[in-house]
């Protein structure tokens, strides 16, 4: 006797690489404000990344991870979230973090080696940047439980990379989200590389979205360089979760047009040819072309946007550069709610008082 159970994974795209619609468009494709917001965020992020990479070169910050080429994911995710939702970011989603209220100065502080980068109270209870890959997936699930427990209409969005999907934390978290029906959306930035390890060496699966099947939750694959697809499908998943329909896994296919970080030299392991071939999928010109064709974007607006972003970023950079380091003893001061006695003396000795 043989019975079978079937599963499907769909791939979605609205805008082709050349900016032409690839079929029916969702309502947001006609919503100028949304399109402008997405575009603004992408341009802003790209300029911020460029500036930050330069700052690293001149020693003004430390190792930095750009999101060049992947801006549609941060923008789409950040814009799809409601203010009260909660983000559990990895480290490559500056665009999403800007939507959440993180400022350039916060991120520069963080990459500049200063804990205050994650302390901005305006970002509410959003999680800080998470460096150990995939470990924040379970935090996101725990947070999703917390909001569900309190009957709050909030959703948690967790961002990870393609490499991150190989780690047990990821599976454990989506499995729990499935069985507990948690309001969680996990978005994979499949930029096709985990430092030097290509997507094909991470896993044998045809898609990363199908990993959802192991958790019994919906999984979809989207063109992660199509800001409309990201915004639309992430919002749909978020609203699903908000209405009690449980978690979704979204694989957003993109490409890392930059080095892994400023500490990396991708030319060691990646051909120029491959890199160049992917430039045509760049999300920024894609949305710009679409908006131009829709008659909602002009050269003047572009120029203005570039100027505005640069000015805003520059102001933030100056803020950052003017920041005094924290006093050395700050390493003791947020460690516990109340410093245990045994650390008082270590603190004093650090301050040269003993």
């Amino acid at each position: 006797m043989i019975k079978t159970t079937s599963f499907e994974i769909a791939y979605h795209q609205f805008l082709q690489p050349n900016g032409e619609p690839s079929g029916g468009l969702p309502p947001l494709a006609r919503d100028t404000d949304t399109l402008h917001a997405l575009y603004h965020n992408m341009v802003f992020t790209r300029l911020y990344d460029e500036r930050a990479v330069n700052m690293q070169r001149t020693g003004q910050i430390g190792t930095f991870a750009s999101s060049l080429g992947q801006e549609a994911i941060g923008a789409g995710v950040g814009h799809a979230m409601q203010p009260d939702d909660i983000i559990a970011p990895s480290f490559r989603e500056s665009g999403a973090l800007f939507f959440r209220g993180f400022r350039v100065r916060d991120l520069l502080l963080y990459w500049g080696g200063d804990e205050r980068g994650m302390s901005n109270p305006d970002v509410g209870d959003d999680f800080p940047i998470c460096v150990p890959i995939s470990t924040h997936c379970t935090h996101a699930a725990g947070a999703a439980f917390a909001v569900k427990y309190r009957n709050e209409p909030r959703v948690v969005v967790c961002l990870i990379g393609d490499g991150g999907t190989s780690k047990g934390d990821f599976y454990e978290a989506i499995n729990l989200a499935g069985v507990w029906n948690l309001p969680l959306v996990v978005v994979i930035n499949n930029n096709q590389w985990a430092i030097s390890v290509p997507r094909s060496m991470q896993t044998k699966t045809e898609t990363l979205a199908q990993k959802a099947i192991a958790a019994g939750i919906p999984g979809i694959q989207i063109d992660g360089n199509d800001p409309i697809a990201v915004r639309h499908h992430v919002a749909e998943a978020i609203e699903n979760a908000r209405h009690g329909n449980g978690p979704t896994l979204i694989e957003a296919i993109s490409y890392r047009l930059c080095h892994h970080t400023t500490a990396d030299d991708a030319t060691r392991y990646r051909s120029d040819k491959e890199l160049e071939a992917h430039r045509q999928y760049d999300p920024v010109p894609r949305l710009r072309t679409y908006m131009t064709q829709q008659g909602i974007w002009s050269e003047e607006q572009e120029t203005q946007l570039q100027t505005d972003c640069k000015t805003a970023i520059e102001q933030e950079v100056q803020h950052y550069l003017a920041s005094e380091p924290q006093p050395p003893e700050s390493m003791f001061d947020s460690l516990y709610a109340t410093l245990p006695g045994e650390l008082e003396s270590q603190r004093r000795s650090l301050m040269g008082k003993e």
Partner: protein, 326 residues
Amino acid sequence: MSDITMIEAVNLALHHGMEHDPAMVILGEDIGINGGVFRATVDLLGRFGPERVLDTPLAENMIAGVAVGMAAQGLHPVAEIQFMGFIYPALDQMVSHAGRLRNRTRGRLSCPMVLRAPYGGGIHAPEHHSESTEALFAHIPGLRVVIPSSPTRAYGLLLASIRNPDPVIFLEPKRVYRLMKQGVKDNGEALPLDTCFVLRPGSDITLVSWGAMMHETQLAAEQLASEGVDAEVIDLATIKPIDMETILESVGRTGRCVIIQEAASTCSVGSEIAARLAEEGLMSLFAPIRRVSGYDTVMPMFRNEKHYMPSTERILQAVKETLEYA
């Protein structure tokens, strides 16, 4: 007030916590309808419901990580790891996140969670069911580590841990879960998380121990008393932070110290106490410090476990050598 065992005291404290703190939830493997493999969580599911008493899938890393996420969002999760031998997958979350969240965000977020686990040997359990690796957590900044050794201290220290605004590893010496009964008042009174308990004042020698080994340590002290040796017995109780003041004061008086622990000796909590004595109390010592520890071997399977765990005889032997030192 009734006489109860340590495991009942743990259960009582959990009930008290759940009763008074709507943000508290309990999670772990088999902690729901089964009431925990040691019955620590018995009746909680019936009383507080499946929204607050959460049987999880089998994944310790996930349990710890989910607790971190809950705690960051204002809940007070008390997570159980079924045996300390299965706590290692949870260590990453405790080291990398639980102990750092407050510091990383300069206080914007915090991590008020408790990770409970039965620990230690002596119950004739299978492999991996007899670990005493409290030192791994004691080494980690941002964590607290607490080990009760009696029903009253289990109740008071667990309540304190539940209310603590930072992450606490709460290790329960399962060998003495049912060894003794004490009258425990269910009055919600917590004990301090930074103070040793002097269980027996004495002037000839200081014995420091914690967890199940308090039992052998106290037996040794009684035996010594009958031989005219007046041993001071200290229950460390809070492994991190360590209340060195009490220990230094005691050793300052007795001049001799034996530290008793079930754990492997190297880089252990006993090492730390000895090191601090060597740094801060050296000149009051009349004799070398002695550690009576488990050996630096894998805890043998149970047919031989008694040879691993410090016995009253080994303690007495070390005490005598310390007293006779000249």
